[in-house]
Amino acid sequence: MQSSINDISLKLNLNYLPATNQKIDIGVDFTRYIFNPGKMQPLNSASDLNTSILEQQLANLGSFYLSDEWTLNTGITISAGLRYSLFYRMGPSEVHAYESGKSLSSYTVSDTLNYGKGKVIKTFGGLEPRIGIKISISDESSVKASYNRSAQYIHLISNSAAIAPTDMWQASGTYIKPEIVDQFALGYYKNFNQNMFETSIEFYYKSYQNLIDYKNGASLYMNPLIETQLINSKGKASGAELLIRKTSGKLTGWAGYTFSSSMIKSNGKYPDEIINNAAYYPTYYDRPNDLTIAMNYQISRRWRVSGNFLYYTGRPVTLPSVEYYYNNAQLIYFSDRNEYRMPDYHRLDLSISFDGNIKKYKRWKSSWTLSVYNVYGRKNVFSIFYQKSEPTAANNYQLYTLYKLSIIGQPFPSITYNFEF
C-alpha cells in the first residue's frame, strides 16, 4: 500500500530594511504538487491481490506575500503580513458528476467529465492575513497577541489519529474544499532568577472551515469515489498552555501542561452528512490534558541522568453500544462517534549517560547512554478494534469481542554509543 505526495517549489524572497527597527519581506512562490493517492500491489506472487492504482492528481499553488515587522521604541513590536494564494487543480483527470439534490454516493453518479492535460479543473484563492503584537512589560516579562488566517489546499485522509498505512493525501478539487483556519492567540511570558526560570502561559482559539469529516461507514482506502465518503465540516479548537523551563544549574529541564479541546461539527445538507445529530463532538486529536516533564541532572562532569514523563488523556474512540439480532445475525450498533475514550496514556523513560573524553579540543568525542523506555511497563493502548469470536459463556455469547493493541507495553532497555569526529 502506498500513498505519496511530491512537490517542486520555486521561491523568491526579498528583504527590505527601511529603518533599523523595521524589516519588510516580499516574496512569491510557486509549487507543483503531484499526488499519488493510492497504490495497492501484491507483496509477492503468492498473493491473490490485484494491483490497483488510483488516478494521479496534479495541482499548482502560487502565492504572493508581504510582511512587515516594526519595533517601536516603547518596546512594542508589531508584525503584520498578507499572503494571497491561488490553487489550481489541474488535468488530466476524470471528475464525476452527481445527480443534483442528492447526496454524493456511488448510486448517484450521473456522468464522468474528462479534463485533458493542462486543463484547469477547479480554482481556489484567497487572502491570508496575519497580525501580531508583542509588548515588553519589563526586561523579564512580555505579552503577545496574534491573529492569522491560513488556507490549506492539501488534505490527509485518515480515519485514525495514528499514522497508518491506509492514510492518503488528496488535493482540493471539485468536491473537497480548502481548509481555512482562523487562529487567535494570547500569551504572557515571564522569566525569574536572572532568566534561570522561563515561564509562559498561552491561550489560543482556532476556527476551521471545510474540515474533513467522514461519513458513517466511510470506505476510504483505494476508493476512486473518495468524495462520496467525505463531509466538509466545521471545527473549533481552544486551549491553554503552561510552560516552565529551568535553563541553568545542575538540574535543567522543562514541564508543559496543556488543557485543550478540539471539536468538529458535521451538519451537511443530507442525512448521511450529519454526524452525532449535528452537534460538536471531539475530534480524534482531542486531548483535554497533556503533561510533559523532561528533566536532566548533571551528577558529575561525566555522568548525567535524564527522565521524561508523559501523560495525556486517551483519545476519543467509538465503541459498540448495543447488540441486536436482525435476519438471524448478531449485530452491533455503535455509540455516537468518539463518545468514549481510550485509557489515558502515560509513560516514564529514564536514562543515564557517561561522557567519554570531554576535553574541549579533542576531535573524537563519545558517550554511552543506558536508557529504559516505559520504565514501569504501562500497556498504553494504540488502537481498539473488534474481532469475530466464538460465542461462549466466557464472553457472554458475544460474536464480537473488543481487543486493544499495545505497542512496547513493557520496559524496553537500550544502549546507545554516540560518537562525533
Binding site: Y107, N159, S160, A162, Y214, K215, N216, G217, A218, S219, Q229, V317, T318, L319, P320, S321, V322, E323, Y324, Y325, Y326, N327, N328, A329, L331, Y333, F334, S335, T369, S371, Y373, K379, S383, F385, Y386, Q387, K388, S389, E390, N396, Y397, Q398, T401, L402, Y403, K404, L405, S406, I407, I408, G409, Q410, F412, S414, I415, T416, N418, F419, E420, F421
Partner: protein
Amino acid sequence: LKVSLKYSIFSGFIGIIIIFLQSCIEPYDPGISTKSDIIVFDGSVTNDTAPSYVYIQHSIPYGSSGNAVNESGALVEIRDDLGNAFSLNEVQPGRYASNYNGFQAKTGRSYSLHVITKAGKEYRTDPVLMQDVSDIDSLYVLPKISESLKTNLEGQNSLYTDAGYELYSNVKGNSANGSYYKFDASMTLQYTVIYDLGLSKVFSYCWLNKPLTYPFVITETHTLQNDAFNGLPINFYSGTLPTEELITNLVKDPKSMRISSQGWISRVRIYSISQDYYAYLNRLSNQIDAQDKLFDPAIDKVAGNVYNVTDRTETTLGYFSVSAVKRKSIYLYLGTSLLECKILPFTPPLVPDGYTIDSPPLNWIKP
C-alpha cells in the same frame, strides 16, 4: 565534517518488532454502561403465499449477558397503497404473522408497516414498492477450500481450513425488473440412521438445518448492461459433517446406530429489494467485514427504516422490507460417509421447511 551515528536506532527498532509480534493484543473491556434500549424491527412482506412476519424486540447493552426483550402486545399492521390494512397476530412473544389467507402482497403495489406498541409509541415506514424479481437461471457448486481466522479469548488467531463446496447462482432477467437482489437459502443436511432397539432395527431419514455461511448475500445489476449476473456465491457447504449436532437428533436408547450422510438440500430464494434496502444490507456487511482492522475502521451506525411518528430523532434498528421472491432448489449428494455415534436423549428429527419426501430426491447431483 561532523558525523554522528546512533546505534540505538537500529537496536531499538529491532526490539520494537519483537515486542509487537509477541504480545500486543489483549481483550479489552471498556466498561460500557449504556442504558440504551433501542427497538428492533425485523420484518418483511413478500408475494409468497406463506405468512409475512414482523419480529419486534429490543437491543441489549453490549457485553451484557441478558436476553433481548420481545415487544409483546403491539398492534401491527401492513398497509398497501390502496388503503387496505392487514393486521398481524402475535404468534409468539414479539413475533407477529399475517393470516395464511388474509393477505397476499402483489408486485407493483406499495406496502408500509404500522406499529403501535403496548406503551403507545407509534412507528411506521414509508411505502415501499414491490418490484418484480428475476428467475434464478441456474445453481451450481464448485469445490472450495474455505479459510477463516478464529480468535480465542486471548486474542490469538488461528487459521482454519475447510475443504467443501461453494454454491453459486446465475440469474438472467429482464432489464425492466428491479436490479437489487438479496438471496437466502434453507440449508438442510439429509442423513440416514440405522439403529438397533434390541428387538428390531429401524431405518430413518433425518434432517438437520444449518444457517447460511454468509449472513447477507446481496447483489446489484444497475451498473450492468442487462439485469443479469453469473457466479454469485450463495453459501459454503462445509466438508466436515456436524457430528455432534447429528447425534443430538436421534432416538433414545438404541443398542447401536449408524449414520450415513446423504447430502445437502438447498432451497435458494431470490428477492427483489429496494435500493435503500440494498444500501442498508451493504452497510451491515461492511460493518461485519470491518472487524479485525487495527487502524480504527470507519464506524457505521446503521439505523433502520422504521421511524417513530412523533419523534423522528429516535433511533430504531432493523428493517421492514418489501420483496417479490422466487425459488430454486439444489441437491448436493455427498456420498455415504459413515459415522459411528454415541447414545443421546431423543429429539424429534428436524424436517426441512415445506419438504415432506422421505427418500432422497432422484436428482441428487454429485459435485
